[in-house]
């Protein structure tokens, strides 16, 4: 073996090492993220694709034994769209979402403005306000079911002091949705206060000082300084609120189970019923897909809004 040949192999080996190092360096960022990518692909990518597939199949309990899931084309969609329940759930979902978001936001903003004016214990009181948000949703549902109980609930007990007869909050089909919305408002207030409060903190103090010189105080200061500066945070809070509210299942299943007479049935609880009570996974998947399309529309709005604004 000549020395020239030897040095050539060394060079080739070196080049291979350099190539390998370069490849590794290129791959490193992905090696760090790889497990997360796998998880997301398996638990978000796969289910979304699988739901689309199942929505075109007759997928029922027998599928679990026989493995047979015959293709039925658009039959699942036809069934759910023509069902009298679909309109009801769509209307309920809209009312539930709009009702919850409106009041959560207005009350949340009022409280955030209140706590912005520092006073003794304001920090402590504000953080205690987060408690309802941290408690398991199903535990809150249990408490509210008890509070709203017609015979022995604390709310009717309290109203009784003023001579109001017992109200059937969760058992009357005309009242149940309002009751469920009320509970969801209570649950959402802490989150709204937390985000809006931090948004208020980010409004430069100098603006208020300059504004007060021009006579902008109180409502004027809110309209011309606070609100315009808070707008980006407001859009994010509202869109996130919508997306989170569309997902809600715990509260409704806990409080009413979708009843009475489907008066609190939403897209999400209906999808649950189809798949996990009636074991009709094909129709459940079809409803899920409607739900996902609605959620994604709002997700895109959120992304658009949060991209347009500086993120800090």
């Amino acid at each position: 073996m000549t020395s020239a040949h030897l040095s050539l192999t060394v060079a080739a080996g070196e080049r291979r090492t350099i190539l390998w190092t370069r490849l590794l360096r290129r791959a490193t960022p992905w090696l760090f993220s790889l497990p997360a990518v796998v998880f997301v692909a398996m638990f978000f990518g796969y289910p979304i694709v699988q739901n689309v597939v199942m929505s075109f199949q007759e997928y029922t309990t027998s599928t679990f034994y026989s493995g047979a899931a015959p293709w039925v084309g658009l039959a699942n969609y036809a069934t759910i769209l023509s069902s009298y329940l679909f309109t009801t759930t769509l209307v309920n979902t809209a009312l539930f979402t709009v009702g919850s978001i409106t009041f959560q936001f207005v009350i949340g903003l009022a409280l955030a403005l209140f706590f912005k004016r520092a006073f003794p214990l304001s920090g402590f009181l504000r953080s205690m306000l987060l408690l309802p948000w941290l408690i398991p949703l199903i535990a809150s549902s249990a408490v509210w079911k008890w509070l709203l109980d017609q015979e022995s609930g604390a709310l009717n007990q309290f109203l009784g002091l003023f001579g109001v007869p017992a109200v059937p909050w969760l058992v009357d089909p005309t009242l149940a949705l309002a009751g469920v919305i009320g509970v969801n408002i209570w649950l959402g207030i802490p989150f709204n206060v937390a985000i809006l409060y931090s948004g208020l903190q980010a409004v430069p103090k100098e603006l208020y000082e300059a504004g007060s010189l021009d006579g902008a105080t109180g409502w004027k200061a809110f309209r011309h300084i606070t609100w315009p500066n808070l707008r980006p945070v407001v859009s994010v809070v509202i869109v996130l609120g919508v997306v989170y509210t569309l997902k809600v299942v715990d509260i409704i299943l806990g409080l009413t189970g979708g009843g009475p007479a489907n008066s609190t049935q939403t897209l999400a609880t209906n999808a649950y019923n189809k798949s996990f009570v009636e074991f009709n996974f094909g129709e459940g998947a079809a409803i899920s897909n409607v739900l996902i399309v609605v959620s994604l529309v709002f997700a895109l709005v959120y992304l658009y809004l949060s991209r347009r604004e500086p993120s800090e």
């Binding site: 638990f43 289910p47 006073f119 996990f276």
Partner: protein
């Protein structure tokens, strides 16, 4: 992302001004209204269900019989929930921490696409996921399985954990990591010995939120279990209320016990909680 809680506007001086005590009184009133359901939960957990149909406003005749029954009926379920929540925290951190670092340090088109995907996954209803996971888990024998629930909760927790930690890790000076690599440390060593210790606060915040959401998980528990053997505490509560039980002291005692982690975190980890609440929306 600033992971410490900023003091209120006006700072401590205005916060101690005694002339503002009427505001404090009003604040206490608002808080009392908001926290009344929590009070009522504790109050009725301490009053026997037998006898009167309504409860006293104060638990003057306090009894712990509700708790005794809650622990005897739900004790096993508490252990199950704890196992699931702890398992989820460990697995989520193992997967999410390196990912957060990878995404914050190496910017590329692929990385920003993945961040976008993570943002979107947070908005996908868990119901949709559960609908497709059930058939899959059924084939993999992961129904009625603690590990199956850990996997599902981990998947649900990863996007938030990654986004939260990535925001923090992006603020670590590059020079710090590069100095370690000049000293001969590889990427992995630099990550473990420099990035992880510096990011302690962000990691703790991610861990706390992952724990809380896995502990509170209801939907995966509801859809991916069917037997009494594996039954997280959230399902224990659901079984009570869907059976229209009138044994409210037991139900409320169970709810109080299920809320203990939340209360502890609020008392001992307040700054992390406030930071996480904001990070969730602002990314």
């Amino acid at each position: 992302m600033n992971l410490t809680v900023r003091p209120g506007a006006g700072g401590a001086r205005a916060g101690l001004d005694p002339r503002r005590l009427p505001m404090t009184a009003l604040g206490v009133l608002f808080l009392a209204v908001m926290l009344f359901p929590v009070y009522w939960m504790v109050n009725s957990s301490l009053q026997s269900s037998s006898g009167a149909t309504t409860r006293d406003w104060l638990p003057l005749d306090a009894t712990l019989s509700g708790y005794a029954k809650a622990i005897s009926e739900q004790g096993q379920n508490f252990v199950t929930s704890l196992l699931i929540a702890l398992g989820t925290v460990v697995l989520t951190l193992v997967v999410a921490t390196p990912a957060a670092y990878g995404l914050s340090r190496f910017r590329s088109r692929g990385a920003s696409t993945f961040v976008l995907v993570l943002l979107i996954t947070q908005m996908i209803p868990a119901m949709v996921i559960a609908n497709a996971l059930y058939p899959l888990f059924n084939q993999l024998y992961l129904i009625n399985n603690v590990f199956g629930l850990i996997l599902a909760n981990t998947a649900a927790g990863i996007p938030f954990a990654v986004l939260l930690m990535r925001a923090f890790m992006g603020s670590i000076p590059r020079a710090l990591v590069e100095a370690a690599m000049v000293d001969g440390a590889g990427q992995l060593r630099a990550f473990l010995s420099i990035v992880v210790p510096i990011s302690k606060n962000a990691i703790v915040t991610a861990a706390l939120f992952t724990f809380l959401s896995a502990w509170s998980d209801f939907l995966f528990a509801l859809t991916l279990t069917s037997t009494p053997e594996v039954r997280p505490i959230t399902l224990g509560i659901y079984d009570y209320i869907s059976a229209n039980t009138q044994d409210w002291d037991t139900v409320m005692a169970t709810a109080v016990l299920a809320s203990i982690p939340a209360a502890l975190l609020l008392i001992f980890a307040q700054r992390y909680i406030a930071a996480g609440a904001v990070a969730g929306a602002v990314k």
